[in-house]
């Protein structure tokens, strides 16, 4: 059974030129423990779709169901990794990671142990007292990943989580997110504009059309893990994705 269902979702907004349709009739089922990538040309509404799934935006039409329950607002079982990290500058690393637990009213002793464990998991031990401004981009996104992991979330939504990082850091963090995905058995929905990234990480790849965003094709990624980006089958997949995506 699907853990998350996106049902007939359309999204439009008013602009000076009149009504603009950003997403049109999106239907999607996301299974538990799946890594799904949303890919499409710039402005196709993939980040909007992710925010609708998160409960941050109410769709103009349609609905999102999480285990049969309609998602009408943000819920603790869905967390988010942001493109530009979205760390709170007034909190240090520990406090940023502990933020979701604090908001949910978890006991102080449990907050301490859980936060310390996740900080260790993402390799930030020793930086607990540092503030975001004192960290590199890669370290900031590690904090962002840790914050998304720390609570009791079942689904992690990631909006182009590596696009603000240099190529080397992005590669390292991709592998670390995959490790976390495997270890914590979370469902991940990631928006990306890079075909290589989608092919390297996802189990299924949803290709959206240019505005208004519709589902062009859903591709099952059958390449075995760990994936070799030099493999001819990997090239076949990225070629196929590039062909489907209309800029």
């Amino acid at each position: 059974m699907a853990q998350l269902i996106v049902k007939n979702v359309s999204q439009s907004y008013e602009s000076e030129e009149g009504k603009v349709l950003a997403l049109k009739n999106i239907n999607l089922e996301i299974k538990e423990g799946e890594f799904l990538a949303l890919i499409g040309p710039s402005g196709c509404g993939k980040s909007t779709l992710l925010r609708i799934i998160a409960g941050l935006i109410e769709p103009t039409e349609g609905e999102v169901l999480m285990n049969g329950q309609k998602v009408v607002t943000t819920i603790p079982s869905i967390s988010f990794i942001f493109q530009n990290f979205a760390l709170f500058p007034w909190l240090n690393v520990f406090e940023n990671v502990a933020f979701p637990l604090k908001m949910l009213g978890v006991k102080e002793s449990k907050i301490k142990s859980q936060t310390a464990e996740i900080i260790k998991e993402v390799g930030l031990t020793g930086f607990e007292k540092s503030h975001p401004k004192q960290l590199s981009g890669g370290m900031r996104q590690r904090v962002g990943i840790a914050r998304a992991l720390v609570g009791d979330s079942k689904i992690i939504l990631a909006d182009e989580p590596f696009s603000s990082l240099d190529a080397f850091t992005a590669k390292t963090l991709r592998d670390e997110l995959l490790k976390i995905f495997k270890r914590y058995k979370k469902t991940i929905v990631m928006v990306t504009h890079l075909v290589d990234e989608a092919a390297y990480m996802a189990d299924r790849i949803v290709v959206l059309t240019p505005r208004p965003g519709k589902i062009e094709k859903i591709i099952q990624n059958k390449l075995s893990r760990p994936r070799n980006t030099r493999d001819s089958k990997f090239y076949d997949l990225t070629d196929e994705l590039t062909r489907i995506i209309h800029p």
């Binding site: 967390s79 709170f88 908001m103 914050r147």
Partner: protein
């Protein structure tokens, strides 16, 4: 790293000590001069303290009022569209026009002056906080919503820290305007306070004491800024979103 930190700390401490030293020396010398000119320096100290107390009281009432108003107004777009133009027009109404009305309601005492100061102080705090709430990055608001920040916890751990830089800026402007206003208000209301003291010394024709009092007031305000507001302003940069 450690040495540069120590050096910075040393510089800060030296600078602060120097400020306090200059302030203390100035006070002592001015008080001595006043004493020599047989003016009652106790009255001056009392009046200065009364004025400081009034500014502080007005600020302590204004700050939560202004921040709360902004948070409520910006919760809904419709409320914001309705209230912001009203506030914008209201701030340009000359405050001194209300003074006779306030005197008739509250009498010639502290309540009148404090109410008057609130009207003067509230605008810069409201408008800088309003602009501060607009400049909080959308992703941060989304992160607060995703990670279930709600109610009082959201206020303490998200909204107030996010607004801290703009609250400090608004407070600095508000305090500046309050000192300017209190002198005028106390001159008119005229029982006590630094404004009343300045009025009395001017009326008595004692130009020397009048000049010294104005200088003392300037040094006092400068020192408060140096010791309270500037460190807060520096600290607020840590809270700024990029």
């Amino acid at each position: 790293m450690r040495y540069s930190h120590a050096l910075r700390k040393y510089h800060n401490q030296t600078h602060n000590l120097l400020s306090i030293g200059v302030f203390a020396l100035s006070i002592i010398s001015i008080f001595s001069l006043i004493f020599l000119s047989r003016s009652n320096y106790l009255v001056l100290t009392y009046d200065l303290l009364i004025s400081t107390w009034r500014v502080m009281l007005a600020y302590l009432i204004t700050l939560p009022l202004a921040v709360f108003a902004v948070i409520v107004i910006t919760r809904r777009k419709s409320l914001e569209d309705f209230f912001v133009p009203i506030l914008d027009v209201s701030q340009s109404i000359p405050t001194f026009a209300f003074l006779p009305l306030m005197i008739s309601v509250y009498g010639r005492g502290t309540p009148t002056i404090v109410a008057f100061l609130i009207i003067e102080m509230i605008w810069p705090i409201i408008f800088t906080t309003l602009s501060g709430i607009k400049t909080v990055r959308e992703e941060l608001n989304e992160a607060a919503a995703i990670f279930q920040a709600k109610g009082v916890k959201k206020l303490i751990y998200f909204t107030l820290p996010a607004l801290f830089p703009s609250i400090v800026t608004g407070s600095i402007v508000g305090w500046g305007e309050a000192w300017e206003t209190i002198v005028g208000a106390e001159l008119i209301v005229g029982k006590n306070g630094i404004g009343a003291f300045i009025g009395k010394t001017y009326d008595s024709g004692n130009t020397f004491v009048f000049t010294i009092t104005v200088l003392l007031l300037l040094i006092f305000i400068f020192t408060l800024n140096r010791l309270i507001w500037l460190p807060l302003l520096k600290r607020s940069t840590q809270f700024q979103t990029e």
